[in-house]
Amino acid sequence: MATETEGGCQDSADKHIVVSGKLIDELEGLCEEDVFGCYQCGTCAAGCPFMDEMDLTVDEVLRYVILDKKEVLESKTIWLCASCFACAERCPRDINITKIMEALRQIVLRQNIDETDLECLTDEEKRSIPQMAFVSLFRKNIG
């Protein structure tokens, strides 16, 4: 971590995530949310502050899980989620979407594929950004 390799930091390597059975069974232990309860009303997407940067919209992520399309684990969206709970509070089906996003992240992290690599940060930033940001980031993005 000491040397700051300007060129060294590149986007995280393409991950080869292995998921044997159905996604919904993988999620079983991690969160007991009734993903199938979703009727694609779009409220979560309409209320998410980070939708512009997301490759999959929030309801598309849920749809991937329902249709068991494993590519959802490679999407940028699950890492962009800042766990602000706006979607969970507003979902008419009372599904805690924030927990589902965390569970999806955990599936990847528990195959010890880390999302974050701190090379890209300048020293100055390491000093000025509040520690709570780093602690949160490590907890969320590193297995």
Partner: protein, 297 residues
């Protein structure tokens, strides 16, 4: 009265000005903040997976240390600490078996007897001090200062740990009125500031800061009041950087509620404005709430 204070990491480093102003305010109101003897990282951010009890250990230890000191309440300044501690407190109260596992696992510490509650400093001002008494203590009312309250999400969501109405919070608006300033209501006050995304998604956080601050500028607010050090960094620092991304955009100052409270109570001190990307001093002087001190930047 004596308040058992849980600082958390950031309050000791980049948010020292929040701590100092809070200490000064507490004292001026006749209370003393006593830092916990034993405290460790609050375990931000709360783990949301069902099977992960491990990450609740850190916050639980803090609750146990408070019980050891014989106190029934922890006061926090940082929104994220308050949220994380409350979520763990809520979970162990809801599920005794988790508490039992955690208690059995902790061999050095005593068992958590659920006698401690977690209170954010804003809640303390509202519930224990009360706006009326606060208003009486204000000697230097912030007359003519238009302040936009910004709550972020950690104080209001998830609903089990909210300190106010999640859709229409009033706690900061009441505080601003008590300080004699004008409230600039706004629809962005409960939208996320970008939180820890600021590390890897700098532009996104700058855009968030610009959206929130532009609204304030259009309503000719003078400054944004908030309570969380990470929100402060994202809107203040990333907002300043947004000036490079969007020409013609200028970031308005951001302040902690404790700094404004200290000024209103007429306390002496420099409140650590140096740590702000946009120094609020010129504005405060122009509004006549701060004495024109020579040589200030």
């Amino acid at each position: 009265m004596e308040l058992l204070y849980y600082p958390g990491c950031t309050l000791k480093t980049s948010a020292v000005n929040l701590e100092e102003s809070a200490f000064a305010v507490a004292e001026a109101l006749g209370h003393s903040m006593i830092e916990m003897e034993e405290w460790n990282c609050c375990g931000v951010s709360a783990s949301l997976t069902e099977d992960d009890l491990m990450h609740h250990l850190a916050p639980l230890r803090n609750l146990v240390h408070a019980e050891d000191q014989g106190m029934d309440r922890i006061v926090t300044l940082c929104d994220m600490c308050s949220n994380t501690l409350k979520q763990t407190d809520y979970r162990v109260r809801e599920r005794e078996d988790d508490l039992k596992t955690l208690n059995d696992f902790m061999d050095q510490e005593n068992d958590y007897r659920m006698t401690v509650s977690v209170q954010h400093f804003l809640e303390f001002l509202r519930d224990d001090v009360g706006w009326k008494t606060l208003k009486k203590k204000v000697v230097n009312p912030l007359k003519g200062v238009r302040i936009m309250p910004y709550y972020g999400c950690m104080l209001l969501r998830p609903r089990e740990v909210a300190i106010d109405d999640a859709e229409e919070p009033r706690i900061m608006a009441d505080l601003i009125k008590a300080l004699g300033a004008e409230v600039v209501d706004n629809p962005y006050k409960i939208e996320c500031c970008g939180s820890y995304k600021t590390i890897e998604e700098k532009e996104m956080t700058s855009r968030r800061a610009k959206t929130i601050s532009t609204y304030a500028v259009e309503r000719d607010a003078d400054l944004i009041m908030l309570s969380c050090p990470l929100c402060k960094y994202n809107i203040d620092q990333r907002g300043k950087e947004a000036e490079l991304l969007f020409d013609g955009y200028s970031q308005i100052p951001v302040m902690y509620y404790t700094q404004l409270l200290a000024i209103a109570l007429g306390l002496e001190g420099d409140w650590g404005f140096g740590a702000h990307a946009v120094d609020p001093t010129p504005l405060l002087e122009e509004k006549g709430v701060l004495p024109i001190s020579e040589g200030s930047t």
